[in-house]
């Protein structure tokens, strides 16, 4: 291009500056601020000056420890048992409250425990809720990414048929994507509700009364699953569209060749369609994973992290701290942890796509 021969520094900067300047102030600066603030004790409003506190925020969030305890024994040496027959152990408090022999456990609380023979190992965390938030977010990602990806591919294959009116179906499957996740969350809160909820009533009707109604969002074992199902319902159309554009890049001549060779449907999918979709597959998985790690609105509208912290998530914790408790530094530390996770996944994506090209 001839324009490359002539420098136009002034005009170039003038055109780019409004956009770049805004991005510096509102994206790049806060991004670096997150790192800096996470090493301080900054609060949203505070009379005290901000001070450097080193990695204290990270230690507070990520500190874990273990302790293995033998059951209490009576004078005869027999294991003492609680009312339900399980062995009784010394109280953890004795180790986690200012015990000079266990300084590393100071201030920790029980996260979970597992038994080995008579002794029992207790896993302690300084911030048990945040640990649960990480675990829940990872579960959410590990369930949603493959499931939503596969369902979206299934829908894309269905929609890729030459049928009269197929565009109508495509439009319908995509519809929930344009509805706000806040609207969807409130609507499903009603659908899931324990009394008079649509889902319970439908299941009762379909099973001729055999089904016992469930408090979907109020029970720790079903709450996260219910949010997962709803999230997939809302977003699957989005990924269907990405798969569909991948499918349409596969040359029809490959399908003709396959049908001349007498390939079955499964063989056609396995040896023609799937190899042509590899890059799309990586892309879909990454996009779903990134979106899934940012899980927030559903939680805020539907459960607020409950019941019993069974739906706590990383972003919900970041907001709860940074905004709710005005603890900007703690919220920033969580943001940095989240960013590191997301960055790792992007690097894995780069690696996976580079390998093939």
């Amino acid at each position: 291009m001839a324009t490359k021969l002539t420098q136009s520094n002034g005009a170039g900067w003038a055109f780019a500056l409004p956009g770049f300047g805004l991005m510096v102030v509102f994206i790049i600066l806060p991004f670096f601020f997150a790192f800096a603030l996470s090493f301080t004790n900054q609060r949203l409003i505070s009379p005290n000056p901000t001070a450097y506190v080193g990695a204290a925020n990270y230690r507070q969030l990520l500190g874990v420890g273990t302790i293995t305890l033998d059951p209490l024994r009576d004078d005869a040496g027999a294991v003492q048992r609680a009312a339900d027959g399980s062995p009784a152990y010394p109280r953890l408090r004795e180790f986690t409250r200012a015990n000079p022999d266990y300084p590393q456990l100071d201030g920790m609380r029980e996260w979970f425990s597992f038994g080995r023979g008579e002794s029992r190992t207790f896993v302690l965390a300084r911030d048990v809720v945040f640990m649960k938030a990480i675990v829940n977010t990872v579960i959410f990602v590990l369930v949603v990414a493959p499931l939503q990806g596969a369902l979206a591919l299934g829908l894309a294959l269905l929609i890729n048929q030459r049928l009269r009116g197929i565009n109508l179906f495509r439009a319908i499957y995509f519809m929930p994507v344009v509805v706000s996740i806040v609207v969807v969350s409130l609507l499903w809160r009603f659908i899931y509700s324990a009394d008079g909820g649509l889902l319970n009533n439908m299941l009762t009707g379909l099973s001729f009364g055999l089904f016992t109604p469930v408090d979907w969002l109020g029970t720790p074992s079903t709450a996260l699953g219910s949010i997962i199902a709803m999230s997939i319902w809302q977003a699957v159309g989005f990924h269907m569209v990405i798969w569909l554009s991948g499918l349409q890049t596969i040359s029809p001549t490959l399908y003709e060749a396959a049908s001349i060779e007498g390939a079955t449907k499964w063989q056609t999918f396995r040896y023609v369609t799937w190899p042509g979709l590899r890059n799309t597959a990586v892309l879909v998985l990454i996009v779903i994973t990134m979106q899934a790690f940012a899980l927030f609105a559903q939680i805020d509208v539907m459960t607020k992290g409950g019941p019993l912290d069974s739906t706590q998530t990383i972003v919900f914790q970041a907001v709860d701290r940074g905004y709710g408790k005005q603890d900007i530094s703690g919220g920033s530390a969580i943001s940095v942890i989240l960013f590191c996770i997301v960055l790792t996944i992007s690097l894995i994506q780069r690696y996976l796509t580079r390998e093939r090209t």
Binding site: F26, N201, P252, D300, G322, S335
Partner: protein, 292 residues
């Protein structure tokens, strides 16, 4: 698949349409349920959930829930706030991002390569990871207005608009599109003595219809559906947008009929807009998949 299948008749065809329709039911019925429920009094609404009447406009149908919702909270104000914030942001975003992309593609200046890579690198930073430090920044930014210089952007329209004007994805979409425009057009205009602003206004932007539509739809969806950010920065009713207003409305009372009326009110116009411009919507969303 893409080839015309000779077996596509009779039973097979019916089977295919049956599968497609059953899936469509899963996607549509919750939304139908929402709209139908908004028309019914609470007592009937709850009773209807145990039968297919839940999806039908039967019984005592009226717009009473809508009237009650407007009485209970300033729903109209919330909608107006969202329309203002969304409209202003979309327009400014199209302008600012297209200008920047224009500069990256057509002008030759020192540092453009580096700056463009920095902008594209922001694509891997999810908003959720910068929201908390951004909250601190927004609470300390100065503003020159009618009352002189004030500190802090919380509780305003600008705090909902300005941070979202420039973003990497919109700039990226414009850059991709501008790269495919014929460079000879711009050269010819330069030779004839046109200035850069003239080229931007008279030549490039008139050709940019499709990418403007794509970028506008994406920005519209993001802005209209904003939740996390306004939740943190807007406490005053007078600037509250619809999605935060919704959560607030829900906490006021649990009258499901009224809540469904509010949901329908803010969703049905978007759905209508979507169905009307369905192809453009789907194409825009598909184009976000290109990033990464």
């Amino acid at each position: 698949m893409a080839t015309i299948n000779p077996d596509n008749h009779g039973l097979r065809l019916i089977l295919r349409y049956t599968v497609l329709t059953l899936i469509a039911v899963i996607f549509v019925f919750p939304l139908v349920f929402m709209v139908m429920s908004s028309l019914k009094p609470d007592q009937q609404l709850l009773a209807d959930t145990s039968s297919l009447r839940a999806f039908l406009p039967v019984g005592d149908i009226s717009l009473n829930n809508y009237v009650a919702a407007f009485d209970r909270a300033p729903v109209g104000l919330f909608v107006m706030n969202s329309v203002i914030v969304t409209g202003v942001t979309v327009v400014l975003s199209l302008l600012v991002c297209s200008l920047a992309a224009f500069s990256f593609v057509f002008l030759n200046w020192r540092g453009r390569g580096v700056i463009l890579s920095v902008i594209l690198a922001t694509l891997i930073v999810p908003f959720e990871t910068i929201a908390i430090p951004l909250l601190l920044i927004a609470s300390k930014l100065p503003w020159i207005g009618a009352e002189g210089v004030t500190i802090g952007w919380l509780n305003s329209y600008r705090v909902q608009i300005v941070p979202f004007i420039a973003d990497g994805l919109t700039i990226f979409l414009f850059v991709q599109y501008f790269k495919d425009l014929p460079g000879e057009l711009i050269e010819a205009a330069r030779v004839e003595g046109a200035s850069w602003p003239q080229i931007y206004r008279r030549i490039v932007m008139p050709l940019a219809g499709p990418v403007i539509a794509t970028a506008a739809i994406l920005k519209f969806l993001v802005m209209y559906n904003q939740y996390l950010w306004p939740l943190m920065v807007v406490q005053q009713e007078s600037y509250r947008p619809v999605m935060v207003g919704l959560q607030y409305f829900f906490q006021l009372n649990r009258a499901w009929g009224e809540i469904m009326a509010y949901l329908s009110l803010i969703t049905v116009p978007v759905l209508a807009f979507y169905l009307f411009l369905q192809r453009a919507f789907i194409a825009s969303i598909a184009s976000t998949g290109v990033k990464g």
